[in-house]
């Protein structure tokens, strides 16, 4: 769907040259939500702006849906851009236009006749959940509502791709979640390919299928979100994973567990993208004559299911415990006995 080859952007400033994007290769499949994460200055914004040529590349190529964006002339580029939606951190709405007219703007640009435009705007207003606010001006809307207008506007011309540059970074956590839900919703409903830039792992975890980690203009790690979560290789990636999975209380908790549970066993259950074994704990207590006691844990939801770690204390007959352990081993939940107990 989107293929990026050797993409490079060098900014020439008075005192130095800055290579913001450095020979970057990436392939993005149709219909996926692809996240790009990196710290400030990693080149994320430059990268996404190269995709619709808001920034012209120094070298390399970008191909979207078989059209090579990087070799297009001005007019073809204009037409291609009408099929690439973009939303922004600061929404970038025209304050002189109402919600309705903001959404109609890209349709005016695409020269859609007025009657059709009105019908399409109505659809979009409903899609993003802004019914009743059509005639408000942006200044009368909350941040979340403004971003909904931004999304409706970006979708107006039925694009194949949606580019999001820090689309939720100016919003509070709750509003962020509602906007992310909306993005997942349109991704599923419309089969839209979404490329999303962020510096928050939470955003990646919540909605992305695949992720690339950027550092110094390069992609240093990429893959399925779950794989990256499970086996982060680079230090940057580990830091990002810690942002959402980091469990600062864990060590302290383990110490207490060692002191307090002198009998039975303490098991660590590692959930890796579970959707089938979520009732594991209740199954265990039903099937085996053991007592289970949840001690400590953190489970989080990703697009591919639950992910996280749970510490449980098991009390009961030795054989029964071992049978339960074997049972767990047959599921996709990883299990490990915490030593030092007994």
């Amino acid at each position: 769907m989107i293929s990026i080859k050797e993409l490079t952007k060098v900014f020439h400033t008075k005192d130095q040259d800055v290579t913001a994007v450095d020979h970057l290769d990436l392939n993005i499949q149709s219909g996926e939500i692809y996240g790009v994460i990196g710290y400030s200055g990693a080149g994320k914004s430059t990268f996404i702006r190269l995709l619709n040529r808001l920034e012209d590349p120094t070298s390399g190529s970008v191909t979207i849906d078989k059209q090579e964006i990087t070799s297009m002339n001005k007019n073809d580029l204009r037409l291609a851009r009408q099929e690439i939606g973009m939303i922004f951190q600061h929404f970038n709405l025209l304050w002189s236009r109402t919600v309705k007219d903001n959404i109609a703007f890209p349709l005016e640009i695409a020269k859609m006749p007025k009657e059709k435009r009105e019908a399409r705007v109505k659809e979009l207003v409903e899609l993003v959940g802004l019914k009743g606010r059509e005639n408000a001006y942006p200044s009368q809307l909350s941040g979340g509502q403004k971003q909904r207008v931004g999304i409706a506007r970006a979708l107006a011309n039925k694009p194949k791709v949606l580019l999001c540059d820090e689309a939720t970074s100016a919003l509070d956590p709750e509003t962020t979640d509602s906007i992310l839900d909306l993005l997942v919703d349109i991704n599923e409903k419309l089969g839209l390919t979404i490329i999303l830039i962020t510096h928050e792992m939470h955003v990646i975890r919540k909605i992305c299928h695949r992720v690339a980690v950027m550092e110094n203009g390069k992609v240093v790690e990429q893959g399925d979100v779950l794989d990256v979560f499970l086996h982060p290789k680079r230090p940057v990636t580990k830091k990002f994973v810690d942002q959402v999975m980091g469990d600062p209380d864990q060590d302290h908790s383990l110490d207490l567990i060692h002191e307090n549970y002198k009998s039975g066993k303490v098991l660590r259950l590692h959930f890796v993208g579970e959707s089938t074994n979520q009732a594991l704990i209740s199954e265990l207590s039903r099937e085996f004559k053991i007592d289970l006691n949840i001690l400590h844990g953190k489970i989080t939801q990703t697009q591919k299911g639950a992910y996280g770690t749970l510490f449980v204390h098991v009390e009961g007959d030795q054989d029964e415990i071992e049978r339960a352990q074997a049972y767990i081993q047959d599921t996709s939940v990883e299990v490990e006995v915490i030593p030092n107990v007994q």
């Binding site: 808001l54 291609a80 009408q82 973009m86 970038n92 304050w95 002189s96 005016e108 640009i109």
Partner: protein, 222 residues
Amino acid sequence: MFNKLFPNVELQDMITATNETLYMTIISVLGTLFLGIILGLLLFLSRPGGLWENKFLNWVTAAFVNVFRAIPFIILILLLFPFTDFLMGTIRGPKAALPALIIGAAPFYGRLVEIALREVDKGVVEAAKSMGAKNSTIIFKVLLKESMPALVSGLTVTAIALIGYTAVAGVIGAGGLGDFAYFYGFQRSDFDVVFVCTVLIVLIVFIFQFIGDILTRSLDKR
């Protein structure tokens, strides 16, 4: 009562002079608006990083604007005599004042337009680009539209300066209240005439300011 207080004021003359002032002001405001927008757009668009980035064009426009803004209005009128004669076929009366008024005010307004355009959020222009807008769409539907309140309040300031200029234009016999106050009031020592002319000019200024303020406020949805 009125006749006693202002024995030398002829109502009919006052109406004529007011009409001439209004005529000069309104036509020159329209001309200034047109020329000023063009100058402001040229200045803004040809800037480094602008839509029509062009060093030469930028330099020429800036030079034109700076030179004409530097010339005092009274001298500009004299300087433009031959041009006015050629363009208007006369160098007397309200019509003859128009070229000098417009050329005097447009560079000033052009700078205000440029400032207004610079205030437009770059992100919004970028959003329009990302939607595949043509430059003309960006100019008319984004830049000028989004800067409308500033363009109108700038025009109000310029219009009020122009009312002052119309009075100065009296020296070439342009007509209007300034001319009338000087020739029929001051020179004949009929100070009641000067006084009434002053009140009328102040009144016109207030009306322009009032209309400008209302328009600016109704346009500003920020």
